[in-house]
Amino acid sequence: MFYKECGQYGIGIWKCPRFLFVIMGIATITGMLATFWSFRAYGASPETMIISVVLVCLGIFVPGTFMVRSFEYMAEANRMKTEFISIASHQLRSPLSAIKWSLNLLLEGKVAVLDKKSRQYLETMEQSNNRMVKLVGDLLNVSRIDQRTLKLKKEKLSIIEAIKGSIHILQPAAEASNVKISLNLPSNDMETVGDETYFDMVITNLVDNAIRYTKEGGGVVSISLAKKNNYARCEVTDNGMGIKEEDQKLIFNKFFRSESAKNRQPVGTGLGLFIVKSVIKDMGGDIGFKSSEGKGSKFWFEVPLVE
């Protein structure tokens, strides 16, 4: 009951103010009783007993109260932050849609005939706006994950279809970076249970990262899918810049971007892999990677197979 609210925000039980308050109460009472009994065993006078019991009680209770208060304050700050992200991004969506569609109309030449320069500017606006739409979408997903309100559908979906769909979308970007995509898919389809939109997002994210962080001049990204016990294992391997050893344990943290990633790709929020991991975990799967700096990375995930 006192843990419910903390559970809702994903705060562990030993960091939950209300739970700690109860523990502190128990500790205070135990301390008082222990003092009382031990003083009585030594035959101390009633006055000494009363004073020591009160002192022990105050000694535990007063600092304890301040500590719990400070925890509560921090938890509140964290909750406000999540709520702020959620409200701000919701409010941003409508105007962003209006901008996106206005640009759609203008670029289709339905409003006026465009000269070359105007078209260029409008295309720049469209690209920037698309980046904002994606950022706001990512922020919303993160706030939903933090508030435990991200409800993913549980539908049967084809893993091969998802991989092919993502590659179709990313092919132009791969060609632009001179990256060859090599596929190694089984002939029989594999099916898992999850939310199609988010599962597509997982694969697109991993492949997109592999393409983005290839070395200057191009490379190869290979995608393989195979059955492993009752799981489907998908691997995305690149021969790009790799991830520094000290950055490896932080890579799935939200907002984390390594220095070398920032140097190579100024655009990016550090939210992609955090969302990807949450989605895979929600599907009952697991995700990980192996990487060596300068040689490349291999990201893999496993999701349960269904008949």
Binding site: P95, L96, A98, K100, W101, S102, N104, V136, K151
Partner: protein
């Protein structure tokens, strides 16, 4: 004869953009800016298709949807729910209340929306 589309949407900018698009594609447009006016217009104008936002002043989209489905003349009119509410719960609720299809604004290009409207009008 031009197909008639009713748009129930409180945001001026979106009304303007979609209105221009649909008019230029040869549709006839009627517009309402809140739930009550939308419902009244649906009854008087008898549109071929309704675009419906969910967060609306006066009467929210879910209620409008239920009232539309209860009306004998509008029970079969395709209704495209058109919103930024995208949780699975909201989508299910809208489909249960009788929405024909569901568009999350932020995820769609204008051309996708047009294609969806076209295919719905051809099927009905």
């Amino acid at each position: 004869m031009a197909k008639k589309v009713l748009m129930i949407e409180d945001e001026q900018a979106l009304q303007q953009i979609l209105g221009d698009l649909l008019t230029s594609e040869g549709f006839e447009i009627v517009q309402a800016y809140d739930g009550e006016a939308g419902l009244a217009m649906a009854k008087s104008e008898k549109p071929d298709l309704i675009l419906l936002d969910l967060r609306l002043p006066k009467k929210d989209g879910f209620e409008v949807l239920r009232d539309l489905r209860a009306d004998e003349n509008l029970g079969n009119t395709p209704v495209v729910v058109f919103t930024n509410l995208e949780s699975a719960a909201d989508i299910d609720k809208a489909l249960e209340a009788g929405a024909t299809t569901y568009i999350v604004k932020a995820n769609y290009e204008l051309s996708d929306i047009l294609a969806k409207i076209r295919s719905l009008l051809n099927n009905y």
